[in-house]
């Protein structure tokens, strides 16, 4: 940390001293800029929220009645002399990088981002800056994603084979972002698509924001058992271990996550299949994004912080890490609300 830094660490979260506001705080604060609506970045209890306009629906679906101000991507405002604008991060619908300009210096905080194309959100936009605050969830060279078309061919193939075998295809994934990306990528002519109660409000928010998604149904809307056996079922991971799953009879289970890249994780997970599908940048993606900002100083947050810092330093950049509370509880945050319902079989 240096005097005059535009973003510093505080116990509440990442703080902009001249602007007097926080970015994705993990404790309640008066003014919060929210990069995206995942539970570890967008928390309850802040006084005032600022986010990108496309995030409004999903934020409200998750946080309810909040004091929310939105900006179009690229639209700038001044606050306490800090010029602030939001730029697409390509992570999920409404995800944004925060660009801060003050005293002739430009800082960009990435939030979570991915550089691969995604039909459900605006693509990542490289923003020139002096200092770039980057995430590092998959910050190791072992993480390289396969192109979407190959990946969705794998998913479609798995689903089709299950249809022939007469068993439902249960694909566990985060309810927000991952689920919609899968919906936009699979071939809906293979069979009916069923979504868990946790996924549906987010689908509604996506559709309301103008993102085309194929028709999805709730399990309660299907009375024909044979239909269920042909279905692709999207649900949070918690539902796979719950009684909710029983109504589908025989199933093949899969998990969609970047962590599925590793054989050990696939085998430990206990799923029949693992699809390597991530909302984060892979190693080449992270390095490419960092390079495209032109930043000479990089601050690394949540993920492989020490590795990325050392690697960037070896590349001649000034690099350091921030301790944040992002990333650890994404899965938990996604599944927690379903747990009590699932236990009594009312997961819907």
């Amino acid at each position: 940390m240096k005097p005059g830094d535009l973003v510093v660490q505080r116990p509440e979260g990442l703080y902009c001293p001249p602007g007097d506001f926080y970015i994705d705080p993990w404790r309640p604060v008066a003014r919060a800029v929210i990069t995206h609506a995942h539970a570890d970045h967008a928390r309850m209890g802040n006084g005032h929220y600022l986010a990108a306009a496309p995030a409004e629906g999903v934020l409200r679906a998750r946080l309810g009645e909040i004091d929310l101000q939105t900006l179009r991507y690229g639209e700038a405002i001044e606050h306490n002399g800090v010029r602030l604008s939001l730029h697409p991060a390509g992570h999920v619908l409404g995800s944004a990088q925060v660009r801060l300009e003050h005293g002739g210096r430009v800082w960009v905080a990435s939030g979570d981002y991915k550089v691969a194309p995604d039909r459900t959100c605006d693509p990542f936009e490289p923003v020139r800056c002096d200092v770039f605050i980057t995430e590092s969830t998959f910050g190791l060279p072992i993480y390289r994603w396969t192109p979407d078309e190959q990946l969705f061919a794998q998913v479609n193939d798995w689903w089709s084979r299950n249809v022939i075998a007469g068993r439902a295809s249960v694909l566990a994934c985060y309810s927000f972002g991952k689920a919609q990306r899968i919906l936009s990528g699979v071939d809906p002519t293979i069979g009916p698509i069923v979504v868990h109660g946790a996924v549906r409000p987010l689908n509604d928010a996506y559709r309301a924001a103008g993102v085309p998604l194929p028709e999805t149904r709730m399990v309660t809307e299907i009375s024909d058992k044979a239909e269920l056996r042909r279905a692709l079922v999207l649900c949070p991971p918690s539902a796979v271990a719950s009684t909710w799953l029983r109504r589908f009879g025989e199933t093949s289970t899969a998990f969609a996550s970047g962590w599925m890249q590793l054989r050990g994780a696939r085998r430990r997970g206990g799923y029949d299949r693992g699809f390597v599908l991530s909302d984060h940048a892979d190693w080449p993606g992270l390095l490419g994004a960092i390079g495209s900002t032109g930043a000479q100083r990089v601050i690394v947050t949540h993920g492989s912080v020490p590795v990325m810092v050392r690697y960037l330093q070896e590349q001649g950049l000034e690099a350091e890490g921030f301790d944040t509370e992002y990333g650890d509880d994404v899965v938990e945050a996604d599944q927690a609300p379903q747990e009590p319902q699932a236990a009594t079989g009312e997961g819907g």
């Binding site: 190791l140 060279p141 072992i142 390289r144 590793l262 050990g264 997970g269």
Partner: protein, 571 residues
Amino acid sequence: MKQFTRLFTELDATTSTNAKVEALQRYFAAATPADAAWAVYFLAGGKPRQVVNMALLAQLACEEAGIEAWLFDECYQAVGDLAETIAHVLPQAAETSDVGLAVWIEERLLPLRGLPPEAIAPRVRAWWRELDDMGRFLLTKLVGGGFRVGVSKLLVQRALAAHAGIDAKRVAQRMMGYTDGKVMPSAERFAALVAQVEEGATERADEGQPYPFFLAHQLDGTAEVFASRLGPVTDWQVEWKYDGIRGQVVKRGGRVWVWSRGEELVTERFPEIVALAQPLPDGTVLDGEIMVWTEEPEGPGRPAPFSLLQQRIGRKTLTKKILADAPVTFMAYDLIEQGGVDLRELPQRERRARLEALLTGTRLKLSPIETASSWLEFAQRRAQSRDLGVEGFMLKRLDAAYGTGRTKADGLWWKWKIDPMTVDCVLVYAQAGHGRRASVYTDYTFAVWNRRPLDKAEVDAVLEAIARKEPPQPGALQLVAFAKAYSGLTDEEFRQVDAIIRRTTIEKFGPVRSVRPSLVFELGFEGINRSTRHKSGIAVRFPRMLRIRHDKPLHEADTLAQLEVLLGAGR
């Protein structure tokens, strides 16, 4: 390689044996015989020899990926497997090739043998460039040694049999020696594995065919009941029931085959039995028990604990040490073929007489016949079973034929097992079952106290600490996990326990949940041994839940010391 890679991916992705067999069948249907020949070789346990050491491969991968050694090490820490780390760090191939597995092995990998590292490096580097992630992983495993895949030889045989529409036992015989590395796999050898059976023609490979095993029924009840159910003791042949692996030894045409009850050919795993059976005349089939026998200087010796035999099962290479530590013998108790003639229709007493005559002068063991004047006396003798290292009695009707499977039509065998040892223990972890029990928590881990709790208050304090996820203090009162069990409860009981598990979950580790301990179970098991592989230092055999002890408070559950007592009794 692409087909083989896909097969490996599918086998790797599932734990369902049916799914594995389906994947294998799909592969055999699509692959050329030459490729399939090598696939069978590797899947059935044939080992590729290491031609390049892994350190060199790792170094090559760093160069190819343009990363420093420290970064590769970081990756390895995350992945946990060198070949997989290499596969992931390498840049994506621009274009992948589709060279068949046989060409890969015969024209590329085998010629590497004996080449200096500097000649090998450029080739491996070029090959990596034409393979995808999983292909590179397999190639690296194949040249670096250490190729393993999660299928058993038996499963490969089942899939080959289903593919060819022939009997799996026949495939097993045709596969004898297939993976010993003496003859290279080839299209011809594969064709011979799956060839159709010609009516009437005897295949040389058919010579070792065993008979279906005759299985016994479980006998429960008191000695009084027996008298009325079984009739006089003089109608029965009574032997000890051994805790080994049921097996058949076949001697025909100068060769010996050993089959286990799963109709798996295990000849290569038990060379001692082959040696013992070699002097038998051709056309002999013995039924008996494969077991480890502890010799005693004075007296006949005694059966060794099953755990010793377990060390032999699954070993592909038998070292001198393991052969010396766990010497295997064959305890014969029936003769089902003699002089090439099927004896199964003969009465038990006649087969037994021939067996005794046959084994005279050989070093094969003959299962001794136990006699008593009444069932009551047998019941008293049965109580010594644990001291003798056996599981109870086998009762065989003297006029019974040797039946097929678990039938009562041709004759009758009863197993009269000793009551299981029991322990009252506490449910601490649960995992969902498979198949019908998927998404129901049916697989439980049980624990006992490391010492007797002083009172309920002390137990409550421990439970609070568990709920707060605090690790136990060394030496303090704690629960020690010692056994897993997943059978013995009714569906309704499983549903009740499942609901309690969901309500009392503390943490989830993948498919496993830790629970706030609240349930005591009576757990029964057949045997108990010391084990260095279990935290408790104890391994139990065939544990099953006898009942839920809703009446028992947690502080009255048993302790490690009580297991120690059973351990003494189990000797």
